[in-house]
């Protein structure tokens, strides 16, 4: 049990809160999957890359879709290829092993060094999916009935699982995970995140953009609150568009970058109109630095 000595502290391109670092390190030390939840755009997917970079390991990504089956992650028996080959008789179809391909989890098990395995958006899959993976994640091996072989993990991969779901995954699954909810960044942390992407941003512009952004997020009736990625896009649009800091609070330029729903758009414009110039976002939001 020496492994827990290495520790994750974030990377240059990824701001991880102390709590998040802590959760990562606990998961790594205990060899448990780390389940990450959080609003869209809070850096769940990127965390896995950052862990891999930070710990100097390779990252394998398993993107989950609604049709993904747990078994796909272990291996795929390409019966169609075998059938195809058998028609021409120029392949040795008698050896099933030629037609077994490793899935992402299988690959992670067979890697010669420890890897980071990201199971991204697990909530997309069927409800039974997480339960179907329990056994393999627990015992770190699986069986291939077609060949009678058992695949053992050479090194227990660091497993990061992300989910957007507003409601829980199966209890049995949860019990085995280390859980971390990435809270939406506060203004101070957000300016750090922005600084990672745009290190040379004018302070005044940043302040105004953040003030407007948190003012927007504070509007209760929005259907879809703008997220970090939208803010990053917006900051870019503002800079490239040569918008002056003063304009930001007054006009909310490029608002379409932040809001995706017509309904939200109208709501915000109405607010802006009603509250008028005397209540500009910046004056409504306590100063940031």
């Amino acid at each position: 049990m020496q492994d827990h000595k290495i520790s994750f502290t974030g990377t240059e391109d990824y701001i991880a809160s102390k709590e998040l670092q802590n959760s990562v390190n606990v998961a790594v030390a205990l060899g448990r999957p780390l389940l990450i939840k959080g609003e869209p755009g809070t850096g769940k997917t990127m965390l896995a890359q950052s862990i891999a970079d930070g710990l100097g390991k390779k990252l394998l990504i398993w993107n989950i879709k609604s049709t993904t089956k747990a078994k796909d992650g272990l291996y795929i028996y390409d019966t169609v290829q075998r059938l195809y080959d058998s028609q021409f008789g120029d392949h040795d179809v008698s050896d099933i092993r030629h037609y077994i391909k490793m899935g992402r989890l299988g690959e992670a098990f067979l890697a010669s060094v420890q890897v980071v395995l990201l199971i991204d958006e697990i909530d997309k899959a069927d409800l039974e999916f997480p339960n179907d993976l329990l056994w393999e994640l627990d015992v770190m091996n699986f069986n291939i009935p077609e060949t009678g072989e058992t695949v053992h993990a050479r090194h227990r991969p660091i497993v990061v699982i992300t989910s957007n779901a507003e409601k829980e995954l199966p209890d049995a699954f949860l019990r085995r995970c280390i859980f971390h909810y990435i809270a939406f960044p506060d203004a101070a942390m957000m300016s750090d995140i922005i600084a990672v992407h745009y290190p040379d941003l004018e302070q005044k512009l940043l302040d105004e953009a953040l003030a407007a952004f948190y003012w927007l997020r504070g509007i209760g009736s929005l259907q879809k609150k703008p997220s970090t990625s939208e803010l990053l896009d917006w900051v870019q649009a503002l800079t490239v568009g040569g918008i002056s800091p003063e304009q930001i609070g007054e006009e909310l330029p490029f608002l379409g970058v932040l809001l995706k729903k017509d309904h939200d758009f109208t709501t915000v414009l109405q607010r802006l109109h009603n509250e008028g110039a005397q209540a500009k976002p910046a004056s409504r939001f306590p100063h940031l630095r």
Binding site: H4, G10, E12, A16, A165, E166, K167, D186, H197, D200
Partner: protein, 398 residues
């Protein structure tokens, strides 16, 4: 060790089990709490709590257990180093700005639009366009590590103070529903055709390919008896103004229904406040999407399970008087309540889901019409429990 804390957590409603407690013990043995209460606070939360909706309960339990124990958090070398790294950001020089302005604005807008389009779907994330995609005028140059932040909390705060802040209180109220929960509940709405009866007449493609492959290419046809979900559902939703506050939860149900691929048939209809001689196929209730309620009843056989979703709150006249429709341009010869009764009578199974929590039904402004409508339709609140109750009702044999 700390075993009473375990029971206290349970008492506060954090569903901890022995599995997790063992995990915590293991982590403590590895020194993962870093010999501090703050360390223990975070470790415990990561290992014992599996949902942000329980963070607040954890905080309460932690506070009540460790209250009075205050360990100062040490300002270590490292922390000071981090603080020093927060360099003041540089300004963009006029030359640099000039470069950005030369960038074609239309092109940028086009790309942003493209990006928005891509983001509109269900998957919101993972885009690297800004910063790393190479299309960005920013991102790769003049880069400096901005320093690593130390959580969202003041450095010298104790764990007990953090717990007392109850930062996750807000998440509790969000806990009642979600698309996924609705989906789980909707799964129960199925009535399968029998597997014991009938001929094996469906080609099982997967099994056929599998078996044929297993036999190295010798074709093996596999037949099966299909087992189909026989349930057909019609969801009729109120899209009137008083429903606005419930838009989110209603669209969650809508999404969950849409994702439920297991129904034999699923139809959506809309109305505005109350149902009269027309229903609509668009939430906007535009005239062009109108169908006659009579035709609706003709179109849907009585074995459709009817779910009406609405707040059932309106002016009494809208429900009980001819000509009572809220739209002054719309005239109804029969009162809404007669239409509701007719619809209810048509279907073998019908329920009403109300986004207003049940304990308010007698008290809200719409209490009169809610009571009236409840006398016709069995009414359930739009929560997971409510939906489950409604589904039970929809499955009762008559």
């Amino acid at each position: 060790m700390f075993i009473n804390f375990f029971y206290l957590l349970k008492a506060y409603g954090v569903p901890v089990t022995i599995t997790e407690w063992m995990m915590l013990t293991e982590a403590l043995a590895l020194g993962m709490a870093h010999s501090s209460l703050t360390g223990f606070y975070h470790l415990g939360r990561a290992v014992l709590v599996k949902s942000e909706t329980h963070y607040d309960r954890y905080d309460l339990a932690f506070y009540s257990y460790f209250q009075g124990i205050e360990t100062p958090v040490e300002l270590t070398e490292k922390v000071l180093q981090w603080l020093e790294k927060a360099l003041p950001p540089r300004y963009i020089s006029p030359e640099e700005r000039q470069k950005f302005q030369e960038w074609d604005l239309d092109e940028l807008r086009r790309q942003l639009e493209q990006r928005l389009k891509e983001q509109d779907g269900e998957h919101h994330g993972g885009s690297n366009w800004i910063g790393t995609g190479g299309t960005s005028p920013f991102g790769h140059s003049g880069y400096h590590p901005a320093g690593i932040r130390i959580g969202g909390e003041a450095v010298n705060q104790s764990a007990v103070q953090v717990a007392a802040q109850r930062n996750f209180r807000g998440f509790r109220t969000d806990t009642t529903i979600g698309v996924r929960q609705f989906e789980v509940a909707l799964r129960k709405l199925r009535q399968l055709s029998s597997k014991e009866e009938g001929p094996r007449e469906e080609l099982d493609l997967d099994e056929t390919v599998q078996e044929t492959g297993n036999k190295g290419g010798l074709l093996q046809l596999v037949w099966t008896r299909g087992r189909k979900n026989m349930v057909k559902v019609a969801l009729v939703m109120d899209s009137g103004g008083s429903m606005d506050p419930y838009m989110r939860i209603c669209s969650q149900l809508f999404t969950a229904m849409n994702r439920s691929s297991h129904f034999k048939d699923l139809r959506f209809f809309f109305f505005h406040n109350c149902i009269y001689q027309h229903l609509y196929q668009e939430p906007s209730c535009s005239l062009s999407s109108a169908i006659r309620t009579d035709d609706f009843l003709r179109m849907l056989s009585p074995d459709y399970k009817l779910i009406v979703l609405g707040d059932a709150s309106m002016a009494p006249s809208e429900l009980t008087m001819p000509g009572g429709s809220i739209d002054w341009s719309y005239s109804n010869d029969e009162p809404g309540i007669a239409w509701l009764q007719r619809i209810k009578n048509h279907f073998d199974h019908a329920v009403w889901l109300n986004p207003i929590p049940a304990h308010f039904w007698a008290r809200v402004t719409g209490n009169y019409t809610i009571a009236k409508i409840r006398s016709i339709f069995p009414m359930y609140e739009l929560t997971v429990e409510g939906l489950e109750g409604a589904i039970k009702k929809l499955k009762v044999r008559q």
